[in-house]
Each structure stands twice: as structure tokens, then as C-alpha cells.
Symmetry: C2
Subunit: 324 residues, 2 copies
DNA sequence: AAGCCGAGTGAACAAACGTGCAAGGAGGGG
DNA sequence: CCCCTCCTTGCACGTTTGTTCACTCGGCTT
């Protein structure tokens, strides 16, 4: 980028700030602002879009503490976690649901992440959707670390996962640490060997220190299997094994049962995500769920105490608290 | 308010929150939201206005720390204070200027005031304008205290000042403490006597403990005299005295010279605002100025170290840093 | 030097929004 | 029981805003 580009950039930011000020603080119309900035109304419209998209303008919703939704209260009482229920009409499709929850999370994520923090991020369709909308917030000294490997037998998976991570990193101005291993090893021994490598153990140590973890849930036996199951990461035999172990879901390739337990699930010796013990030591653990198909998985994750903050669409939330 | 009113109220808030969520987090159109909430688009529009007006939706402008306006930087360097320059076109009238600065301050004030804080507030046309726009923010245990008396020889002045204070108090859910004394006493002895009264000294002690002070500037010899001078609070002789003492302005009825000094200004023994020593011990001292007429006064206040955060319109800011 | 490319602009159109108004409804008083 | 009042609602209109498109203008390549 040339010098003149840079100053043009900063001019643009300056104008965007002024426009935002005039629009949001002084309630001028874009027309009036265009006049003050000696440009056209359309440019002001674009300037303001830009200001919102880049986080220059930050819109928060602060519910008066006495009025969180009934659902959020119920979930809080029942599971001792903070719930963020995203309103979604009941008739919405699962794709809609996911998209809308992801959009909401993307907008609110900045409130959980700040300078000098380390955030662990999983990947999958949920994370992908979030990454495509995340609103930037400038931080410094912050790090983003991939929670689990992404390769499978057909591809290194790097581009997909790295695209996701990259978008988060770019939005927060954070240093991104990729985790260049397959999602599942073929042999536990390879995993153990690699885990002893200094390059890998450096990443594991960083995972152990993270301040925020952001992840979705896998749910191997639901009708809409998540990305891990669709992408050829597992084989028939693996599914059978999961089924035998009565697995209901996973977080970052680590599987759990309905009661939250993980012991003696063979596949976990080959998965690459963080031990739940490590995860549970992370102060904020943000879990994003949409669609009732993931309900069993969600219940298991809650039993396992993997979640401190839950982002969930309204009908799934309702189903969660409905006594069965 | 009846029970059913209350629940209707909370329904309204709930709807407003949902609407805000759908509008600002999920980018739905009002039409779509109307559909989801089973109401008309106009109602949604009103609901959203309501949400903004009551502070349910909070819009902030966060300038990336490397791009405060050139003016704000200059002022910061020159005077060691934080400046908030409000963009206002040069050709705007003084009334416009005041109104626009006030609107900006009203929107941003919530960032300086929180639960369990004590805020001292002066009164006058500037404060009045701000009070009419201040965006609510619910706090608890917070107090608002009037900085100086408001009566004069013709009226107790209570209604005007109390209206202003009341609006702030209402917006923040804060307890309002009025200061039921005239703006200026006729005799210093009366002031001293009253100052020893427990009811008054209780207020003075609270002033000494305040976390934030919010005030405008008086400027007795400018062409647009502020409210204190227009309202019959001072007499000819007083003006003559001020002129003799080379006074350039006042903060809450305490006068100062161009060099910031106050010693030996007779009128100050009869004014009711806080000693500058008290004021200077307040952590945040927000001063709102608009119009170049107040420039001499502003320079004096800066010399006196009365200000930690300055809110000022653009052309006055420019004039402030212009070398004379 | 001509030409190509991409970023950015304003005009024009279409979509989305705010608001005055009349109608409807709940609550309170006569 | 009726009426009056005040508040809320949806409609219709005019305004404001988002977006498409054709165009311009530097910068870079051929």
C-alpha cells in the first residue's frame, strides 16, 4: 500500500467517523451530512455502512437487568450458565436458524474478546457462518488459536479452517495460530508422538491459557449431521464405535455421552481437540447451537460443564427447558 | 400505575428488545419484524424509536485509537485533557452549535456515569439543552447533586434548575439532591451562616465526594451572555466589580480571571458553587462549551485546571488551538 | 503512449422508513 | 350504563435510505 493510499484510507476513516457522529449522535439526515462533507448522499450512505461494518459504530443492546427473557432466566436457573436466546420464528428453516444465530453471535462477540486475550476457536459450519459476519474490533496483543485439527484423508483441510480462523483474526487484529494436524489421527500413537513435538506442545500450552473458547456442537446421529461427519473425516467403523459407546455429540472432535462422560470412548484417543479438563479451565466458554437436532448433544455438553455462555435459537431454547 | 399497566409496560419492553435484536443484530427489515411480532410495520418503527430513546439500544462511536481528529490530538497535547470535538459546520448559528453539541453530549454522557456514582451538575442554557436530550441509562444507588444555587431576587429559580436536574435524575434513575439557595447571596455572612447548617453542609460534603462534574461556562462580557447574566441574578454594580477584577468567566457562579486565578474577586464570597479546590479533586470534570464567544472563558478555565474532558464544537476547538 | 483495471462517484430508481391522522379500545368518572 | 379521555393501532403518504448502473479518474502494464 502506497503512502497516498494510506492517507486516503485515514481520510476515509475520518470522514466515516464524522458522518457517524452526525448521523448517530446528532440525528442529521444523510442528505444534510452529504452537504457538510461536500459529497453525495450515496457516498454518505456507503460511508455509514462502512462505519458499521468495520465496528467504528458499535450498536449494543442492553436489556435492563430485570428483563432478560423468561427463557434466559429459566436456563440460567436450571443450568447455571448465561443464555443468549436469539429470537427466530418457529417456522424458520434450519439454515435460517443457523444463519440468524450466527449473525447475532458475530455482532456480540466483540464484547467477549479484548486486547491481550487468547481465544480458542473450533471450526465447522457454525463457526464458518459466524466468521463470515463477525464485526471487527481492533485489539492488540491478542491471539486466536485453532482448537482442533482440520485435515482428513482427502485434504489437509487447511484452507477451510484457515479461512475461518483468518476472518476472526483479521476482524480482531489478532495473531492467528493454526493447528496443522488432521482432525483425527489414524493411530493414537502418532498423536502422542506429535503431541510431544515442541511445535505442537507450544500450541497446546497456549490452548491451556486461553481466556475464551468459541465452539459449536457436533451431533453424529442427528438427521442433519454437522460438517465433521459429512466431510469424510470418519469411516463406517468409527460410526459404529461411536454408536456402541452411546455418544451423543462432540466438541472440537472430542466425543461425550448423554451424561457428559468421555471415558473409554476409543475415538477420543485419536481426536485432536482439547481435553475437556483443559476446556473447563477456560474462563469463558461460548457455545453456539441452533436447531433442535442438536438438543441431545447440547444436554450432554451441559452435563459435562463445557459451557459458560450459550447462544441458542428460541425454539431450541424452549425445547431445552421443556421437561421431558 | 396498575398491575396490568406494569405488565403491559414489560411486554412493551420485551417486544422492543426483540425488535431491536432482530433489527440491529439480524438486519431484518421492519416489515419482517412486524410479521414476526404480529403487528404493523409502523408499530415496529415506533418500538425501535422507543428502544433507542430509552437506551435499550446503545449506539457508540469508537474511534480507533490512532485516529482521533487532529484537533482532539492538538488539544490533548496542549492542555493535557481529553477533547471531544463535535463536528459543526462553520456557518452554523450559535443556537445550532449549542444544540448540536448538547445533543452529542447527551448521547455520550452515559459512558461517564454509572451505578453508585455521584454526579454534580450545574445549570444554565447549556445544561438545559443537554438535559432535554439525555439518553437514559439505568443505574442504581447513584446520586445527582446540584452544584450551585439557582434563586435570584425575583424567584427561587427552583423550577428551572429542578426541571433540568430532574431530567438527568430520571434518565439515570438517580436520586436528585437540589441545592435550595439563591445563585448569589446578598451578603457573604448569610452564606457562611447557611454553610454551617447541617442540611447544607450535608450537600457540600456530597459535592466533595462527587465522581463526575458536568458544567458549562459563563462568560460575563461576551456578546451572548449566558443565563446567569441575563436572568437578573447580578446588578450593575456587580458587573462593574467583575470588570474591575478582570474576570473572564465563571463555573457554577465562581468567577475566574484569564490566568485562572480567583483570589480577591469579591463576588465569589457570595456565589454558591463549589470552590475550585473542591472541583479539582473531582476525578472527571466534564465541561461543555460551544461558540467562540466563550473562548476567553474557556482559556481561563483551562488555566485553572477545571477540566478533564472538554466537549466543544469544531470551530471553537479550532480557535482554541490557533496560536494567538 | 495508449490502454486496461479497479476503486470510487453521483444519478436514478426501488426499497425501507417515519409520522400525521382517523379509528378503535380500555379505563375511569359521572 | 354511558360517555369522555387518553393511549395505541394501522393506513397512507412523503421522506429518507440502499443499491444498481454508467461513468471517471489514477495507477500500472504492455
Amino acid at each position: 500500500m502506497s503512502l497516498v493510499d494510506e492517507s486516503a484510507q485515514s481520510d476515509r476513516v475520518r470522514d466515516a467517523l464524522t458522518a457517524a457522529h452526525l448521523y448517530y449522535m446528532q440525528d442529521l439526515t444523510m442528505d444534510a451530512i452529504a452537504h457538510e462533507l461536500h459529497t453525495s448522499r450515496s457516498s454518505v450512505s456507503r460511508l455509514l455502512s462502512h462505519a458499521r461494518a468495520t465496528g467504528l459504530v458499535d450498536i449494543q443492546i442492553r436489556s435492563p437487568l430485570d428483563a432478560p427473557s423468561r427463557l434466559e432466566l429459566l436456563i440460567q436457573e436450571r443450568f447455571q450458565i448465561t443464555a443468549h436466546v436469539v429470537p427466530v420464528p418457529d417456522h424458520a428453516s434450519d439454515v435460517d436458524r443457523l444463519e440468524r444465530v450466527a449473525l447475532s453471535v458475530a455482532r456480540i462477540l466483540g464484547q467477549f474478546f479484548d486486547s491481550n486475550m487468547v481465544m480458542g476457536i473450533a471450526w465447522g459450519s457454525t463457526m464458518n457462518a459466524i466468521s463470515r459476519h463477525v464485526t471487527p474490533k481492533q485489539t492488540h496483543g491478542s491471539q486466536i488459536i485453532q482448537l482442533n485439527g482440520a485435515g482428513n484423508m482427502r485434504t489437509t483441510g487447511l484452507s477451510y479452517a484457515s479461512e475461518i480462523l483468518g476472518r476472526f483474526g483479521y476482524a480482531f487484529g489478532a495473531h492467528v495460530h493454526q493447528f496443522p494436524v488432521p482432525a483425527f489421527f489414524d493411530s493414537p500413537a502418532t498423536k502422542q508422538a506429535l503431541w510431544r513435538e515442541r511445535s505442537v506442545s507450544r500450541l497446546l500450552e497456549m490452548q491451556a491459557r486461553m481466556d475464551v473458547a468459541l465452539f459449536g456442537l457436533g451431533s453424529p446421529f442427528s438427521e442433519v449431521p454437522s460438517h465433521v461427519y459429512a466431510g469424510g473425516y470418519l469411516e463406517e467403523a468409527d460410526y459404529a464405535s461411536l454408536s456402541r459407546s452411546e455418544v451423543v455429540g462432540d466438541v472440537a472432535t472430542i466425543f461425550f455421552r448423554a451424561d457428559g462422560s468421555t471415558d473409554g470412548i476409543p475415538l477420543n484417543t485419536r481426536g485432536t481437540g482439547p481435553d475437556f479438563d483443559v476446556l473447563r479451565r477456560t474462563p469463558r466458554r461460548l457455545c453456539v447451537v441452533s436447531g433442535t437436532a442438536k438438543l441431545p448433544s447440547l444436554r450432554g455438553a451441559l452435563k459435562a460443564d463445557l459451557i459458560t455462555d450459550l447462544f441458542v435459537d428460541e425454539s431450541t431454547a424452549r425445547a431445552l427447558v421443556a421437561t421431558i
